[in-house]
Amino acid sequence: MHSEKQKHDFEPKIIAFVCTWCTYAGADLAGTSRMQYPANVRVLKFPCTGRIDPVFILKAFQQGADGVLVSGCHPGDCHYIAGNFHARRRFAAFRKLLEFIGVDLNRLQFSWVSAAEGGKWVEVVTDLTERVRAMGPMVEFKDLALEEQWSGSLNTPELQEAYDAI
């Protein structure tokens, strides 16, 4: 928590996928309690973490997110009884896949934040933001989005490379 705003060179974009009934309410509580935390987080509200498809996380990274947070109700507290249990398994598997592809898992945070845990929300978001700030922008997906098949590529780096190589 900062008492005054610090100037930074890099402002990470953090996307938070949260459940309506617990984490969103917890974030709301942090707000009404006037707790200060970095404004880098963009919150996306879902009915339940069970609704959060791994493809949303992929899309977030593809569209420029530097860090992603997924947060929901504590096990046993899910408004839909078992949504977060399914999410727990799904994300345990998905993060292994992302790790295998070469994504740094420090950019992807999962948490249980209840409706009463405004303080925990602030901690989780702040820690993730600062961690990602220290890691720098996530260039992997951004750079990947610029790649083309050679036949459709309209600048010819191959020519330059070939010229330089001879």
């Binding site: 083309e148 098949q149 459709g152 309209l154 600048n155 010819t156 191959e158 490379e161 070939a162 001879i166």
Partner: protein, 334 residues
Amino acid sequence: MQKQITEANFRLLLDSLLFKGQRVVGPRRSGGTVLYEPLASASDLVTDELPRRSVKEAFFPVCEDLLEYRKEGQQVALSDVTAERFPETVLIGVRPCDAAAVPVLDAVFSWDYKDQFFLERRARTTIIGLACTSSDDACFCSAVGLSPGDPKGADLMLTPLVGGGFLVESQSEKGEAFLETWKDRFAEPDGTQPQELATPATQPFDLKRIKAWLDDHFEDAAWDSIATRCVGCGACAFVCPACHCFDIVDEGSEKGGKRRKFWDACGFWKFTHHASGHNPRDLQPKRYRNRIMHKFKYYDDKFGQTLCTGCGRCIRVCPVGIDIAGVLEEIQDK
């Protein structure tokens, strides 16, 4: 004009082209397979293996941008692809089954709409063909009116000589111009014998007879027995030198994006799926029927040509072993 070139001078020629900044595209080992790709040096060129995909992508890319749009306030800025951005290209080591497909594609890309993306690339490309001295049992170029030494579509045709080097024969003005520009690399032919060319084992097809059957058998139980095994991927269409269907999509957001053109295939279930939900080719045999009809009937009806050069790639690559030469044999026997 006929000339000759040694293996060493051939490689030197390629390196000279590259040194001048000329884009040279040829068979290159890439990602575990051989593909037609831009070469970085003459040593990249592979001459003993047929590339997994055809040379059509040098004119008809796997995916290309058509235009870019950006929203700036209330204005929309459009940035168009212009023909100067297509580089001059020399295609080298192009097999007859690939080179022969290019003039076949010319017909459809300059028909009711002159496709500048294809035609401009075509105008800026010189095709140097390479005759085949070996084949496998999937090759059937000789069955569809071609041969392993056919120069159709090439500007210059190279035939391997006994002992190394190539016989070089120009086939067009572009070929003549190339020989003139680089004349100090080439020598006069000295009577060295060309190597024996490949002899694909398939018998020539009676394409007229096959077409006659197709003309009258749009509905036939044969399509079910031939094509039930087809699982509806696009592998055959994508590796084919003659298939040319494409889709256009806008990718981006309301703030900005690109319009892109990329390969499509009639084997996909979505290919003829209407917005209403109706799909005239709802089952796979109908979709496979279209493939055969297009190649051996419709293209002949429209342009007097066969949309197949017998390269055999579809046969090698089909996940369920559909053999188009076998299908043609079956139809011919009916």
